[in-house]
Point group: D3
Chain length 292, copies 6
């Protein structure tokens, strides 16, 4: 893991982070405000991994604390996207005690969720690490967390599929049915979309694969096909022209992914690392700084 992945600039992400802080703080953290704010107390928070896994979300956690209080200092100990081990110190945060307490839950919740995704993604990726096929993610992401979960997916070793409905065309069975066939669909859409967009077509039969090839689809998705059909489809596509990208999709699990990769597809898409991952357990230990 620890493939590089880069977040959009904060100008894009801050409104989301801001909303999350308001969600947790609401009308105020009565406990902390009553007992600590105004007392000029500082502390050091240590984030400890309670499980092995891939750590993701540290720069975002740093930003959460920064938005609460610009004077907070966040020091990652484990690199973003690196493996951590149970008991390991992951990051250290120095700041005013009330900031540390008010930001804790938002920052940790996000990092735990993202690290969980990266960790499971990495297990999928390891299964096919020696094969040319690449794992890609899907649009099955938690509402509001698309950019973050896609980022975690990258750091776990996967490649991103489209980030939304607007950065690639994906022609599904319902689109095809609405216009009367794959050929009609590709023909109709080719000059309506922004021209750099790729056109991907979902296929379930070899006849559909053939139609997609004929219309020069950029990507052909083999949807829920048997391994045998997939092999045939790959052969069919490669025999015509070698620039079309092939994506396998449907019921991919840790158990099945290797066999799918061996069919020779270029990409294997799976929502599993996002929809079936547990949060990676991280805890925050907080120590009040002693003054003297």
């Amino acid at each position: 893991m620890n493939q590089s992945a880069v977040l959009p600039p904060w100008v894009v992400l801050d409104p989301l982070l801001h909303g999350w802080l308001l969600e947790d703080i609401g009308r105020g953290d009565h406990t902390t405000q009553s007992l600590i704010t105004g007392k000029n107390e500082f502390g050091q928070a240590n984030w400890i991994a309670k499980q092995n896994g891939v750590i993701v979300g540290l720069p975002i956690a740093a930003r959460v604390f920064y938005l609460l209080n610009e004077g907070t200092s966040f020091t990652p100990i484990v690199g973003e996207g690196e493996t951590c081990h149970r008991g390991q110190l992951v990051a250290r945060i120095d700041g005013s005690l009330d900031t540390l307490l008010m930001g804790e839950r938002v920052a940790l919740n996000l990092a735990m969720r993202l690290s969980g995704i990266a960790t499971l993604t990495n297990q999928y990726v390891e299964k096919i690490a020696d094969l040319p096929a690449q794992l890609v993610d899907t649009r099955k992401t938690t509402p509001g967390l698309r950019l973050f979960e896609k980022y975690a997916s990258r750091l776990g070793g996967a490649i991103n599929h489209r980030l939304g409905l607007d950065d690639a065309v994906m022609i599904k069975d319902n689109h095809i049915a609405a216009v009367g066939g794959i050929a009609e669909a590709i023909n109709q859409i080719r000059y309506k979309i922004p021209y750099p967009l790729s056109i991907e077509v979902e296929t379930t039969t070899l006849a559909e694969v053939e139609a997609a090839i004929e219309q020069d689809a950029d990507i052909i998705m083999l949807d829920n096909m048997s391994l045998e059909s997939m092999c045939q489809a790959v052969q069919l596509i490669r025999s015509h022209q070698n620039q079309i990208k092939i994506e396998a999709s449907g019921n991919v699990t840790l158990e099945t992914i290797r066999a799918v990769a061996e069919t020779g597809v270029d990409f294997i898409s799976s929502s599993g690392p996002v929809t079936r991952s547990s949060w990676l357990d991280l805890s925050m230990n907080l120590e009040k700084s002693t003054s003297d």
Copy 2:
């Protein structure tokens, strides 16, 4: 399950739903807009359960489609919070074809996530169904989804703990350390907070339990105690006065929850149903309406 739970009015939730639609649609659903919009095509979408579980999120899904197009009709087949079985029709949505395609992912992603939480919550609850202890949730929720995940938790059979930092006081070790002791903390805070708020104190030793009792804490949390210590703590609290609520917390799993409940605590808090649940698999089958 199917305990009642009620969402806040849409005036509260719509901004979140709106943001989720923008996240997925971005600059537009090029595929659907190019192939379907403007053709006046209608369809029927059927949501099918691919697994057994507890269904949650149907009214929210209905609202998602409504926000896209007020003319969409959403018919729940399985009751909100009811059990569904693999293969069962869960809901039916009638509307314009492009609305159904553009809203699909947001609506399904949310319902799958919430149903997953409710399903696992329900398994925890079943373990202690014959005992007086109640399962409660925590603030470990996905950023931005607090209200929704707490709602799912309720429908899975749990009771909500506080929804944010502002609807109850929770005095933790760091708060205690900052002011010098449990007694000082409770004394300082009692008249600073909105007076109806309950004061909960985290304790890890019997001495701390004793201090909390003396200061009339409303709720005493037994944090990460052994079963034996928990039993002693419960006894100690009950012996003094029977109005203090007792909450057990820490490393509660499907395996351990029953033993914890048998200690006699009133509430058992666990983040497990939220942080360790998979999404419940639901799929949407879409049929174009035939006109004649």
Copy 3:
């Protein structure tokens, strides 16, 4: 006064302050922009009290100027929540002349409103200062200013009641009527709400008080009762169990508050300090800094 009260972090309040600045500035302060902006002029603004009272709002005023221009320096002379006297210098603000002129009205309007509330609150509080009863505020606050007016109320010496519809349960006559009685209402609600929330019940007769006691309400409100009935209710409640908090409500004025407090209730709620207070008159004198 000068009881401590702490505002939520700026991440919560800034959007409100930002909106207020836009409200006043609109498309620009034509006068100031045309005559002063760009001339690099600095000034010192002195806030002078024109009446005796309790000063509240200085940190918020400071933030208003900061949002306009981070280089502004705000120096409180009177402590937040402290008493000021007519003619006294309350605060001094150093900054660019155009910032001082553009932020003046928003900052002053808020401080005058909040100081007015604290001042009248304090007069109520003084009437019962030697008695155990405490003054509490209500949800009758100016739309949009809830957090600020509740904060002013605290600094005037009152205790906050719930801050919104979500941090405590208040069962009123209409709720009771809808479900058939106080017992039914409390029973129905107890396990639907976040469990740390207190349940308060409005009562107008001794029979209702009795019902609320039997269902272990956390707080019983004696609503618009005669002093005599209040005394009887207090006696009735105390005779059963001494943990229920008692709140008197209805037509409390500076004239009547002491008699109400003498009935032995724990809390007296009144909207009077908010709805009947005048703004405390403050003025801002601005001097251009001389350069040499």
Copy 4:
């Protein structure tokens, strides 16, 4: 009273109303949601005046309930801006019981505040009803409520002064000081501002009045002048040219306003009706509809 006044379209006001509902409802009205929502109960709410006064805010209250639930019906009984008498039915609202309960506080708080302003404004206006001078309001309004309080002011019988820093020029002593004199200020600003904007100049001496006349100010404000000086200023202005509008300002009260009006000024500005008014007491009685 009952001068006509018209609110901006809802597209302008809805975001404010929406924010107020969120402020009160927060994470939900636990009481009402738990006991009433989902039970399909309807009710009728009657708004009763507890004091004599001028009623303002009914269309806004109607909109508040509409935003919560489009099916709510709001029937004003007293006309907007009309006088009401203690005990009189002011408005009737029919809708679902939970909507009536959740919207009550926001709608009533606003109407009480605005009616209080209109009522006191009207008392000022009555003092000078037979004289040509007109009462005008100021920018001392509650942050966030500018448009609403200005509207109430109109319905109380006053005329609005500028609504913000951008719809008229007001040259104050600090502006004058910054550029070196009234003549310089008017000269510099005349061709920098949107040309239809009026230029008002604050004056405190006859010399300043003279300077403002010479520069063709549109409005001359006589700020904190003695009655005698005001008379002289009025005479001076009228002797030169009769198109300049004259505004008196400073320490206007119910006791002094008539004498000021008798000096012959055109307008008398006072913040008193806004900063010194109490809320007009209104209550809402709610009856559950009986079904049969």
Copy 5:
């Protein structure tokens, strides 16, 4: 013209339209509110073309009036994207008189701007209508109007280039310089981006074109090349493999576009239709409905 183009759903566009209405209305349309609102007057507005051109923006104009008042009825007379002639009736709007007056400027301004773009785009397109090359637009669009101006561009007959920085990769000289060469750039980026995204490379020499071919760029932009170099580049690309799309860019005008198209490139990008177009003059004649 009148190529089909489809707007994103209103859930995406409404916030922009809403902001434009607030921009124009501000604190209210004093003229219309004072003279017309409340009088229950209705009218009919006719939009008349004052010039020949391509009409774009009618559905958006309809939505602007709808947002102000749901009861407004907008009837397009000329089809969206169709040609209009000077003096022709373009659309008719029936609604309350104050709605028609308050929405006029926003609706017309947008339609005039978009129609101007479509009209000039169409002139570019006509120049090359018989050649295979297609006109594409650029990211030089008015801030805040990207989606609308791209839509107008489509209706004028052009094809959209990428809509933002996120729906295609465009490697420019500075990117190349930063990593050391075209080969390095394409290699580094291929597996970092969402895999369906196309990779376009800006080239200015044949050597760069060669490098881009070798790395299988999806699109090669010939930037500011002479016609002769363009011809050579096209030949070079076509000789290797015929799937790479070729885009010409730089100083394309109505005079030069045909010669560029004749080089055999697939796409010609030009900002001219957006940056050099005048607004198409449209006027609105308003008639008050007569009642009887």
Copy 6:
């Protein structure tokens, strides 16, 4: 040119700039993030004029880069509102390479649009520079850019007309028709509007001009009159009283403006500089800083 003009404070403008950045960046600048972000590369961007014209928008461009990255330094070389010549260096920006690339398009697009407006405005102004009449702009501005385009107009040498529907009254034919005549309109509105607002009346005949004079309109607009009628109208107005401002409107072009000015009107309003101006061509050359 280079008349002074001052922007409102950033607190007003930042939300617009922020929205523009999001519009362009969307889910991220994949090219720049993949190739440059994280490499700690810095660069210098030079803005070069490709045409002669009036430069406007530099402080706004500076703010755009600042919002992306506070560490960016923007150095204007040509003064805001000053003339630039083809090939001239206009501004220099130093910052991290990815910031320069991500902010380029938004900053340049705005500056090109505004400079284009100022440049054409200036040509209109030059035509009447020796005459007393002043050019004023209109409300025909690009939706969302009102404040910016009005600012550009000022820097081009024009004077602003009203900025929105709320800072002056403009009585048009439809308003007049709705109430029955100019006299009725002015009478009805005079005491309904904020009193400092000017009242402008559109007139098309001398009879209407006469009526407007009689009602003491502040501004009389001569709308689409012949030069001869304009002369008569000016004479008529001046003969009665010399304080009414006279504005000519309708079909003003570079060819006709001088003749209109010679009729003796005070102001000539024209939308031409905004609706008929091309963008001023500016380009950004970016150099990577060399380290050593």
